[in-house]
Symmetry: C2
Subunit: 134 residues, 2 copies
Amino acid sequence: MHTPRQKAADACLAAFDTEWFKALCEPARIEIIRRLVLVGRADIGDIAEDLPQDRSVISRHLQFLERINIVSVERVGRHVYYQLNGPALVEKLETVLALTRPLVPFCCPGPENDTVAALSDPGAMKNTEEFPHG
Amino acid sequence: MHTPRQKAADACLAAFDTEWFKALCEPARIEIIRRLVLVGRADIGDIAEDLPQDRSVISRHLQFLERINIVSVERVGRHVYYQLNGPALVEKLETVLALTRPLVPFCCPGPENDTVAALSDPGAMKNTEEFPHG
DNA sequence: TTGACATGTGCGCACATATGCATTATATGT
DNA sequence: ACATATAATGCATATGTGCGCACATGTCAA
């Protein structure tokens, strides 16, 4: 059996891609992204230029960001140019948002929200008194 | 001096709140969120019921999520009821998305995008050939 | 081929954190 | 007061990971 609530709960796993969030929870990686926005496109040496970390560390961060599809890479000669994949970033955020919106009606307890009818009934969402209070 | 590109770069720091992303990069916490959607509202004991972790671990995760404003808490007697803060979650995602969209035009290298005029000129974004290439 | 340059990788260290157990704190009920 | 129930906290530990160093890999220019 799959109630709307159960479907919504399972949607959490699709919405919250932990690997993707992990990529954005590290200040060093955000700094790299910031520099990419600043210069548009650059090789690892230039990106690591004004950053405190070692080149190899920046290289690994960029590999991670590329694997998650947050930056794109282009190898030319001995240089490896990285670039922020803005469209993919926006698209991913839009997907997460689209998957998260349907969760809101289920934040409140009670079985009323398990029916699709409750989704269009604002009055069904203000029940915080009669449920548990064991 | 503050070029549009520099402003966009600085917007990264506002858009990508690493603490908030950290909250969502842990599978155990996503599982907790999933259970909250499933039951709507519950105390720690019920939330931890079918989860492999110890109650104390679940308690700490919930404290973290509450500090980041992803869940809301209500203490009644000796019970502590948690609930997903769906509206806050959606609002945060909308904010991140709104701050991220303006970054897209700056993903491409070159100074053309440093002028506001470039934002409304689609033709200015297809320069990937004449910039570095050592 | 040789040397210089840009990047990738193996390894170890230091620190963060997720986890479980034991204990304590707070509230409830008899 | 006492026992019980629920949650929070202190502590130890295992795992994860950011980091730098040394070295390997690969490329370009002589």
